[in-house]
Structures are given as C-alpha cells and as structure tokens.
C-alpha cells in the first residue's frame, strides 16, 4: 500500500463528488455533525450503533456488516472514501474495519471533516438516495487485528506502540482530555511500549505529515522494522489512525491494531503495567 492508493486530497474529493462508483462515507461517534451538514452525497456510518455489536463487546460480524453496507447502497466494487471528525479517528477505524472485512478499494480523505470545514468547502443537509446492494464481505483478516493475548506476548518482543497522549501513557490521565477522567481501568501503559502519540503523524489541520517526516518520527521513536508491530490506544480508534500510517502510508509489514486497547488491557487481572514516561522493563 502507499499514499497514492490509500489517501485522497480534499481537492480530489471535491472534483469526484459525482463520479460513478465513488461513495463518500462519513464516520463519527457523535453523528450530529453529519446531520448538521456533510459532504454532498455522503452516507453516514455511526461508529457505535452501526459498527459495534449491541450486546457483546466486539464488532458487528460478517453478516451484520454485509447487511449494513447493503442497506447503505455500498457495492463490493465501489471506491469507498471515508472521512470524519476527530481528525479522522473514526474514519481511520472504519478504514481498518473495511480492510478487515476485505473491501477492495477504500481510501481516507486527508484532513477529514476538519480540513474540509477550515477550507470552507461546501456541506449539505440533503440525505443521499442510494439503492440497496447485495454486499458480500470476506472473513476477518486477522493479520491486522491483535487481541489481548497478542499484546501480552508482544511485551519485550515486538514493537508495541502506544499512541495515546503522553499524559495517558504515563498514567497522569485516564482518557483523552475532552472526557471526564473517572475510569474503571488502571492507569499506565503496556511495559516496553513506545510512546508515539497519533498526533505526531498529523498536521494541525488533520492532514497527514509527509512520508519522510513520518519515517523520521517512528525511526527516532525506536520502531524496529525487523519486528512485527502492535498499535494500541484507549478504544482502538486512534491506533487505527497510526495503523493506517504505518501499514498503508509507509508500507510497513505485519502491523496490527489492538482494538481492545487500554480499556481492555488496563482492566485485565494480573498483567504487568508500567507507570511514568519511560517504556519500562519486560
């Protein structure tokens, strides 16, 4: 994968709003942004209601994903262009998710909703009308998904990349600072994890930094290209952003997103936890 095959610019997007076979999809956790105005023709995916199982803590399964995309009028051969708020966190999560279920052509809109708004590009309230399709998903590609046991086994062995803010990594905060800090899980990070906040990979307007800048950031942080990599954050969406950078933009191999992330790891009984700004010992 590369930047050309996985990322589109706002200019490209604005020129291709009506291109047949290109579907824009806005993905957010709080979908009131979409309701207040979205890119013309874009369909909406609600991160929580559409992509999470309503009972178990897991994704929607293959059949639920097929039903979702069919009802939204997305076909297997469509080019899906994802964007959203929160610096594309949830759009990157959806990108990872579409990749997990084997969608052929999926792209992220560089800068997402923020860049689009700061550029004062047009947003509409009209809802798109798309005919239902018969979407067919593949089985989950588990080569890009890490589970808790993978995270524990990676301590001191693989690259673990903690992409939360430095204060969350060190255990001084338990959640991103737009959320209340009372949390059930313990504070800290997985021992030996490198701290490379997702935000290092993005410019202020939400666009990604250049490939050269990105290579320098992860190289300087100590990412070892001879090892497999697991990225994690708190709930798996910021680490999807970093997974996208490492695998899709920089073309690194064997990168997994640990979607259970700190809300799972920090609640496990008996696993090691490191506090403070240093990675800690295995």
């Amino acid at each position: 994968m590369s930047r050309d095959s996985s990322l589109v610019s706002a200019d490209w997007a604005e020129k291709n709003l009506n291109t047949p076979g290109v579907v824009f999809v806005e993905v957010d956790e709080d979908t009131t942004a979409y309701d207040g105005g979205h890119i013309a023709g874009a369909v909406k995916l609600d991160w929580r209601q559409d992509l999470q199982d309503p009972v178990r803590r897991d994704f929607v399964n293959k059949q639920q994903f097929e039903a979702l995309l069919s009802s939204r009028g997305i076909a297997n051969n469509d080019t899906v262009v994802l964007y959203g708020g929160n610096n594309n966190w949830f759009a990157a999560y959806a990108y990872w998710y579409f990749t997990l279920y084997g969608h052929g052509d999926v792209k992220l809109l560089d800068g997402g909703r923020k860049k689009w708004e700061l550029d004062a590009r047009p947003l509409v309230k009209d809802l798109p009308q798309r005919e239902a399709t018969q979407y067919s998903a593949k089985d989950q590609d588990l080569s890009i998904r890490a589970f808790r046991d993978d995270a524990v086994r990676a301590i001191g062995v693989q690259n673990l990349v903690d992409v939360r803010s430095p204060d969350e990594y060190a255990g001084r905060l338990l959640a991103p600072a737009h959320l209340p800090q009372e949390q059930a899980q313990r504070a800290g990070h997985i021992p030996t994890a490198l701290s490379v906040p997702w935000s290092k990979a993005a410019n202020e307007d939400g666009t990604f930094k250049s490939d050269d800048e990105l290579r320098t950031i992860y190289g300087d942080a100590g990412l070892d290209d001879s090892k497999d990599t697991i990225a994690y954050c708190r709930i798996g969406e910021r680490s999807s952003h970093t997974w996208f950078v490492l695998q899709e933009l920089l073309g690194k191999k064997n990168v997994k997103n640990y979607d259970g992330s700190w809300t799972e790891y920090g609640s496990l009984v008996g696993v090691p936890v490191a506090l403070g700004d240093e990675p800690g010992e295995a």
């Binding site: 709080d30 708020g85 966190w89 923020k114 430095p166 905060l173 935000s199």
Partner: protein
C-alpha cells in the same frame, strides 16, 4: 418527530460530547480539572465550529473539541499548565492557562 438528545458525557467512546451541554451531575469537581471557555473573533463575537486543541506543557496534543453554536469549549484535564490553540475559518489563536481542580475559565481570541 423525535426530540434530539444530546449525547451523554461518558468515556465509553472517544468523541467529544456536546460542548454546550451543562456539566453532567456525574462529574465530580473535587476530582476533575475542567478547562472551559469561549472562542472569540477579534470583534468579540463568539466563533462557532472552531477547533480547539489542548496542548500539554511540552506542547504535545492532548485533546481537541469543536466549539458549540455559542463558541463554547470544555476539557477535562489535570492540574498544571496547558495551552489552548484554536483554529477557525477566521484565523487561529492561542491562550495559556494554569489549571487547578474545579472549573477554570478563559477565552481564546482568533485572528487571521
């Protein structure tokens, strides 16, 4: 018609809650360090839809929210020194705050 319901302020997800909603009763101001205020344009009008970034003492990104129709923003941080950086179509602006537990208020003015 259904009445729109403001999303609850919970930490189950990661999206920023409604910035205009009152502080939920579940927020314990003995424990939380709330940094809140308004983004203003040069003329003093509130700026809706501005992106406000909370940067830690080393300048690293910690969180970002979008201001409410009345220009309001709110963060849940920790005691210490923070920088607020606002981005908008009308320009950008910075402000510093040394926050303590409880509610810390300030405004950020943007200009091009």
């Amino acid at each position: 018609m259904t009445t729109p319901i403001a999303p609850p302020v919970t930490a189950d997800g990661c999206a920023a809650p409604d910035q205009a909603a009152p502080l939920p009763l579940s927020v314990d101001l003995e424990k939380e360090t709330v940094i809140t205020g308004i983004v203003l344009a040069e003329g003093g009008d509130p700026v809706a839809g501005a992106y406000v970034r909370l940067l830690d003492r080393s300048g690293e990104f910690t969180a970002e929210v979008v201001t409410s129709p009345a220009g309001q923003f709110r963060f849940f941080a920790a005691p210490g020194t923070w920088t607020l950086r606002a981005l908008s179509r009308f320009g950008n602006g910075d402000a510093q705050v040394t926050a303590e537990r409880g509610v810390n208020q300030l405004s950020v003015t943007v200009s091009s």
